[in-house]
Symmetry: C2
Subunit: 334 residues, 2 copies
Amino acid sequence: MSARVTMRDVALAVGMSPMTVSRALRDDRTVNAKTRTRVRQVADELGYVYDSTAQAFRTQKSGFVAVTLPSVNNANFAETFRALTNGLGEAGLQLLLGSTNYRVEREEELVRQLLTRNPEALVLTGGHHTDEMRKLVQGRGLPVIEMWDLPADPLGHVVGFSNSDAMAHIVGHLASTGRRKLAFVGASEGADMRGAVRRAGVVQAARAHGLPEVVTIDAGPAPVSMRHGNAVIEAMGREVAQYDALVCVSDPVAFGCLSAAQRMGLRVPDDLAITGFGHFEVARVSNPRITTVNVQAEDIGRQVVALLQGIFDGDIDSPVRTDVGSALVMGETS
Amino acid sequence: MSARVTMRDVALAVGMSPMTVSRALRDDRTVNAKTRTRVRQVADELGYVYDSTAQAFRTQKSGFVAVTLPSVNNANFAETFRALTNGLGEAGLQLLLGSTNYRVEREEELVRQLLTRNPEALVLTGGHHTDEMRKLVQGRGLPVIEMWDLPADPLGHVVGFSNSDAMAHIVGHLASTGRRKLAFVGASEGADMRGAVRRAGVVQAARAHGLPEVVTIDAGPAPVSMRHGNAVIEAMGREVAQYDALVCVSDPVAFGCLSAAQRMGLRVPDDLAITGFGHFEVARVSNPRITTVNVQAEDIGRQVVALLQGIFDGDIDSPVRTDVGSALVMGETS
DNA sequence: CCGCCAATTGTTATCGATAACATGATACCG
DNA sequence: CGGTATCATGTTATCGATAACAATTGGCGG
């Protein structure tokens, strides 16, 4: 049927040039107020829809901010994403989201694809990337932000926290309450770097506190969640009681472990302490509440938004590094 | 510094026309194999990045599929989204995601914005929209799919299930196990239509089974989750024991109620049955497991992908209506 | 050796909005 | 009343890739 309605069509209908239409729709104050209202009315009547693609092409500004997440199916990442969407939406920017499925190779592929959309900034979750990534984003004027981590050699700006410090809080707390034999419950070594860093943090902190070597309980390939924690403890049976505490890679995993332990009649925390990570809702509602670490997912999003605004306003020249920190949240499982 | 590298630059470097470069990069078999490899190599060396914006502009095909979700912070919607991302990614399409925050006005605003990007299809969650929505999407050749619902008067294609049928399964089960006094736990009336439909389904089914009128327990404004279910039951105290069963709008809410009930010493299901909705992970891992309804979030996503492929291949002319159904999943809370 | 076909590469115009510059109209000043 | 500032609108060129068509080359049959 009818081809797309363009500014040209609106211009013909009001008897003016496309340039005037363009100005009128953009609320340019140099156009006469009456002209502006008439243009808008006619545009409405014709069912005109603005073409952001043409604008992006002409102005070389896409209005996109590209974001990679390991997964949207994680309440904390989803929360950060929500904060980004809301904050950047107010600035007229739209998010282009990609999921890496916790794999750096997938991240690289994704970034390659996202870059073809000419985003105005690139926000990556995590500080571990393929070697190619650095070449990919350098040289371009593109602002890059890594979040949820504090990489030693960042690509650009950073808004994150130290995963190993966070685990050290947990281990310190457990050690000070007399727990000695710790097991770490997380994903198999390999893809998920964040999990590996947390594990290393636990091992290191345990050594620092003079505790016996930490055993790793493998809950399967990343991402691991409630059911994986549940299954692995259920499979172990009462053998799990040999440990004083299960230090879990995340709250969902901890909840799975907690549920399995309770089902086999273990008393938590009396027989076994369990700790989580991330301050997920389940940790606050479960019974008993799970001792965890608050990582302020929403705050990370807000800080990234503030940083981007500074960058777009030209207020920021050198790389920014923000540590949002983390805090132990006492529950009833330890 | 250096301006963006374009096909023109690559063409100059290899001593050929931009058209040949375009063909070479697109793997057009009419270009000589040697030419193609040389073009690709030079493009790599120059750090050429393809410009999807220009392509979208010239071809009038954006490569985008616009999707609205009430929230990404919901495991089921996130799961559908993941299935969409994976399925459409293989077809070279990218998702443009917007969150409506469970409000139809926000959805309209969002769709307006998304349409300016010239998406090749529009996928909406839910079948309730503002009156303007219909005008907004009609007339354009744009394929529209509503999912997660079975609207009476759809905008286009539909892939969903009946929320009231699903609730009827739950109520039928409760009635057949002798529960008579039911309370529905959900969000305040208003924004969240899906919740309202579920509530209406419960009320209607209860009447059909000759049960006393269902009481509504208001857990606060949408979206409601674990902590809201938890808080509202905690606030009621043992007064909640007057009911035979709590029919919750979702599994997270049910888990919150379960946890609160257990904390105050109620035995579930002996003193009180609790049911959820959505077959979330927490329902499978909690102790006791929560009786719920499986809505096959991933399957919805896959069906939408299949439908879109059919549409793009031109195999589909008239509106499709797919009911993915729902099934009672027996747990231990009823 | 001519002509036709296939293989390969080139030329031109175009998608819609807008920056930069130009023009026309009106007002206001000494 | 001439000249200049101000307001409102118009003209032209452009962003990068590619569809449609044109042109060139080499090969092969007759």
